[in-house]
């Protein structure tokens, strides 16, 4: 029993949160429509958190994801303004993510700077670049092609729910796809297993002939691309782009990964657990807002709930190994 609780304590806690809202908001929370809403609200965070998991598996961080997301958004928007077609502009924005990610990778794995420092510095650089590209302005309105902003409003028709047509939002589909790709890569390919080996003991991996440098570099590139995709999703959702809009994603994504780590057997980052963390954060925001909880209290509560989950998991783990 107590072993069960230790292993699944966090999961039970997360389920408890959902049950709580379901009881407190009987008519509105547990509806298909609300969950579709939540899925769309968290979709950008889910993408960033999923790709953040890729670097965190290696024990690294990427603090630049937020500013990379902002940068990708404004790059696409500026190219729209210059008359590029939507696919070309999106490709270019994702290309910027790839280059930015590769640059992070070179700093961390070739030059050997601590990821925390390297990506802290590139955070500044990419954010400055976003301001330069956009001239500090928000780009919106007629400058953003309808095909681009319509994407965020489209989705897969699900038939009618409560008499009104419902769709499975396109952004949620993208988030699911990215999560699925990350899951396959991390859990089912030797590439992913090598990343876990690097995270578990980089020295052992190096001694075993794992090409640590190349793998770390590529993982950062992967994360850069993911961050760019999230930035584009964001821009499509708000039908505009400004040079700071993605910045908040970074800390929240890291929080989601850590929250997920409380769910896994030995505290490793795993992408499905990360997704669970993202959902919990999304549910908290949605549920507390529906209960008209003051925004500030909401912030304190979210922090406190993260702390409780992580403490419970830390204490459980210590109980586990302490005996």
């Amino acid at each position: 029993m107590s072993a069960l609780f230790r292993r699944f304590g966090s999961l039970i806690g997360m389920a408890a949160i959902v049950v709580f809202f379901a009881l407190a908001l009987p008519d509105t929370f547990m509806t298909a429509r609300n969950w579709l809403n939540i899925s769309q609200q968290i979709s950008m965070l889910a993408v960033v958190a999923a790709v953040m998991t890729v670097v965190m598996v290696m024990g690294d961080f990427d603090l630049s994801v937020g500013s990379m997301a902002s940068l990708a958004g404004v790059v696409a928007a500026v190219l729209f303004v210059q008359g590029w077609s939507v696919p070309a502009a999106l490709a270019a924005a994702i290309g910027v993510g790839l280059i930015g990610g590769l640059f992070n990778g070179v700093l961390v794995s070739v030059i050997g700077i601590l990821p925390f420092v390297a990506t802290l510095a590139t955070l500044t650089v990419y954010s400055g670049a976003a301001f330069l590209v956009s001239d500090g302005k928000t780009i919106f309105g007629r400058d953003i092609p309808a095909t681009f902003s319509d994407f965020a409003r489209s989705g897969m028709a699900l038939g009618d729910i409560d008499g009104r047509p419902a769709i499975f939002p396109a952004l949620s589909l993208v988030a699911l796809a990215v999560t699925a790709i990350v899951w396959v890569v991390l859990e089912q390919t030797s590439y992913g297993r090598r990343l876990y080996a690097i995270g578990g003991n980089a020295e052992a991996a190096r001694l075993a002939g794992v090409p640590v440098t190349v793998l770390r570099l590529s993982a950062f590139a992967f994360t850069g691309v993911g961050a760019a995709i999230a930035g584009l999703m964001y821009a499509s959702r708000v039908a505009s782009a400004n040079p700071v809009q993605g910045d908040g994603l970074m800390l929240t994504a890291i929080a989601a990964v850590f929250l997920g780590m409380t769910l896994t057997e030995n505290g490793q980052p795993r992408v499905l657990a990360t997704l669970a963390g993202v959902v919990v954060l999304g549910v908290l925001d949605n549920g507390l807002t529906q209960m008209s909880v003051d925004s500030y209290v909401r912030e304190v509560l979210v922090g406190a709930i993260i702390l409780i989950a992580v403490s419970a998991s830390a204490l459980g783990r210590r109980g586990l190994f302490g005996r």
Binding site: A239, N242, N286, T289, S292
Partner: protein
């Protein structure tokens, strides 16, 4: 300015730069990304550099140390939508009180003085905080208007996305048609977020009235489409910028500025006049 990413700020900066170019000035626009103490530091730096005049777009009470440094060195400082302060030669701005009155009264009239209103406010920024206070007062005068929720969205991304998520949650919590009569927003981004949420929920037919302030182009588009977003107040950003530049020119020409607060007129924008 700490707030260059805000659309309004961009307009008066541009208008200011336009007028400055005509006058042949060198303009250095400094954005501190929300950090007020850094504004003081940068004012000190440009005073050291020896500029002719400084224009600020920040609450002067918070940058008193910098203003003092400028005053000590004899560099005149003009406020552009900043606030009044003895150390400012002049402040050029819109009448924030009047704008909030216009939109909140518009809301009250449209819903017939009765119903549930959702407010989006932002108190950390004094000029916007004032709008919230005025709207509170207006709604409090109507006994049948209930403020359902007073939300402070996360503005680190400009405000649309978080406002939308919050509005979605409120819509989910109030599913019956007619349970929300209006959304009053202290500036346009939350209004746009709320509009997106209402449209995405398929509830645009309920007659929920949305108003914003600033009348930025995205908001004008929305008003022109004749949907729920009905009104906003246009500040004459370009006018503020240009007037600020003119004021600086007058100071540099040696003129004494008597009226230290200079209001630039505002206009209520509805579908009737949006295309003008």
């Amino acid at each position: 300015t700490p707030y260059l990413a805000q659309p309004g700020t961009q307009f008066y900066v541009e208008a200011f730069e336009g007028r400055a170019a005509e006058l042949g000035w060198d303009v250095n626009v400094i954005d501190t990304g929300g950090d007020v103490a850094a504004v003081i530091s940068r004012i000190e730096d440009v005073v050291t550099q020896g500029v002719d005049a400084i224009v600020i777009n920040v609450d002067p009470a918070q940058v008193g140390a910098g203003l003092q440094a400028a005053a000590d060195a004899g560099v005149p400082v003009v406020g552009m939508d900043a606030g009044s302060d003895p150390l400012l030669v002049a402040n050029v701005t819109s009448n924030g009180y009047a704008m909030a009155v216009e939109t909140s009264v518009y809301v009250a009239n449209r819903i017939g003085g009765a119903g549930n209103v959702v407010m989006f406010t932002f108190d950390p920024f004094p000029p916007v905080q004032v709008r919230g206070v005025i709207a509170d007062a207006v709604f409090a005068n109507y006994p049948d208007i209930t403020v359902l929720d007073r939300i402070t969205p996360d503005v680190s991304d400009g405000g649309i996305a978080d406002s939308r998520a919050q509005m979605e949650a409120i819509l989910a919590a109030n599913p019956e048609a007619g349970s929300i009569s209006a959304v009053w927003a202290a500036w346009d981004q939350p209004a746009l977020g709320a509009l997106q949420a209402i449209e995405a929920a398929g509830r645009e037919g309920e007659g929920i009235v949305i108003t914003g302030i600033d009348a930025n182009p995205q908001a004008r588009d929305a008003i022109a489409q004749g949907g729920n977003f009905e009104a906003s107040v246009a500040q004459d950003f370009a006018g503020i910028g240009a007037t600020a530049a003119d004021t600086v020119a007058r100071i540099l020409a040696g003129e004494d500025i008597v009226a230290s607060v200079i209001y630039v007129p505002t206009v209520l924008i509805t579908s009737a006049n949006v295309t003008e």
